[in-house]
C-alpha cells in the first residue's frame, strides 16, 4: 500500500463515516421531533379533556374550582413546551399553530372562566376538543416538513416567540 493508495482509502473511509454520521443524526433528530410533538399532543389532549370536564360542570361544583386551576397550569405547560416543539416547524406552520394555541387558551380559560355563578357551557366544552384536534392534525403534518437542523438547534437555543 503506497501513500497515494492510503490517502484514497482514508478519504473513502472518512466520507463513508461522515455519511453514516449524517444519516444517523438526521434520523435521531427526526425521532426527537416526533417524540416532542407526541408529548405536546398528549399534554394538549389532557388539557382539552380537563377543559371539557370544567365547562360541563357549573361554577358552583367544588370540582370545577380544581379543574379551573389545572387549566391555568396546562396553559403554562403548553406555553413552555411550545418554545421547543414549534421551533423546527416552517414559519407558516408556526404562525398557524400559534394562532390555534391562542384559540385553545381562549376555549379553556376564556368566557366566564373563574366566575362562581357561571352555568354549564357545552359549546366551550366542544370548542376545546375541536381546537385541540386541529392543532394535533397540523402538528403531524408540520413534523413531515420541519427542519431537522432547526430541531437540533432548538434544543440548544430557545427561540423567541413571534407575537
Amino acid at each position: 500500500l503506497n501513500v497515494e493508495d492510503f490517502i484514497k482509502v482514508f478519504a473513502a473511509a472518512v466520507l463513508a463515516a461522515s455519511f453514516t454520521l449524517a444519516v444517523t443524526w438526521l434520523k435521531a433528530t427526526r425521532d426527537d421531533l416526533r417524540l416532542s410533538a407526541d408529548y405536546f399532543i398528549k399534554v394538549l389532549a389532557d388539557a382539552a379533556d380537563a377543559a371539557s370536564a370544567y365547562w360541563l360542570l357549573p361554577g358552583t361544583n367544588p370540582e370545577a374550582a380544581l379543574l379551573g386551576v389545572r387549566l391555568i397550569g396546562f396553559q403554562e405547560r403548553l406555553s413552555r413546551l411550545r418554545l421547543t416543539t414549534f421551533a423546527p416547524f416552517r414559519q407558516v406552520d408556526r404562525n398557524i399553530l400559534d394562532e390555534d394555541l391562542l384559540s385553545f387558551f381562549d376555549a379553556c380559560t376564556g368566557g366566564r372562566h373563574g366566575e362562581k355563578n357561571r352555568p354549564i357551557d357545552a359549546n366551550r366544552a366542544r370548542e376545546a376538543q375541536a381546537v385541540a384536534a386541529r392543532i394535533d392534525a397540523h402538528m403531524r403534518t408540520g413534523v413531515q416538513t420541519a427542519s431537522k437542523l432547526r430541531s437540533y438547534l432548538a434544543r440548544r437555543l430557545l427561540p423567541v416567540g413571534s407575537w
Binding site: I72, E76, S79, L102, F105, G114, E115
Partner: protein
C-alpha cells in the same frame, strides 16, 4: 403645550398580583376588572394627558386565565370606549420571557375583537 412625561411601567406581578384571575371584582380581588379599573385605566388617562406611554409587563405571574386578559384589555374598548388606534400608540404590552408571549398575543387579540365588535354595532 403638554410636555411628554416619562413612560409609566406596570409590572403585573409586582404592582398587581402574581396570581391574576377571575373576570369581575365579584370573582376575587385579582380580577381583570380590578386590574383594568384600579390600575390600567388611571395610568392610561395620565399617559394620554401627558403624551406618554403605559408599558404593561406580563412576566412573572403564575399564568393568566384568558377571561382575565379579555376583561382587562378587551374591556378598555368594550367598557371604557378607548379606541384601538389610541391604545396602539399609548399602551405597550410586553412579555420579555417567551413563555408569556401567548398571553401577549391573546391580549392583542381581545382588543382587536372588542374593536371589531364595537365597530359592528
Amino acid at each position: 403645550m403638554v410636555q411628554a412625561m416619562t413612560d409609566q411601567t406596570i409590572d403585573v406581578a409586582s404592582d398587581f398580583s402574581r396570581f391574576p384571575g377571575g373576570r369581575y371584582k365579584a370573582d376575587g380581588e385579582n380580577s381583570g376588572q380590578a386590574f383594568r379599573e384600579d390600575i390600567l385605566v388611571p395610568a392610561l388617562r395620565r399617559a394620554i394627558d401627558t403624551n406618554s406611554r403605559v408599558i404593561v409587563i406580563l412576566d412573572g405571574t403564575s399564568g393568566y386565565p384568558s377571561s382575565f386578559l379579555e376583561e382587562a384589555f378587551g374591556g378598555l374598548i368594550r367598557v371604557h370606549k378607548f379606541d384601538k388606534e389610541t391604545l396602539d400608540s399609548v399602551l405597550v404590552i410586553e412579555a420579555k420571557d417567551p413563555v408569556y408571549q401567548p398571553y401577549k398575543g391573546l391580549s392583542r387579540r381581545y382588543m382587536q375583537d372588542a374593536q371589531a365588535s364595537s365597530s359592528a354595532h
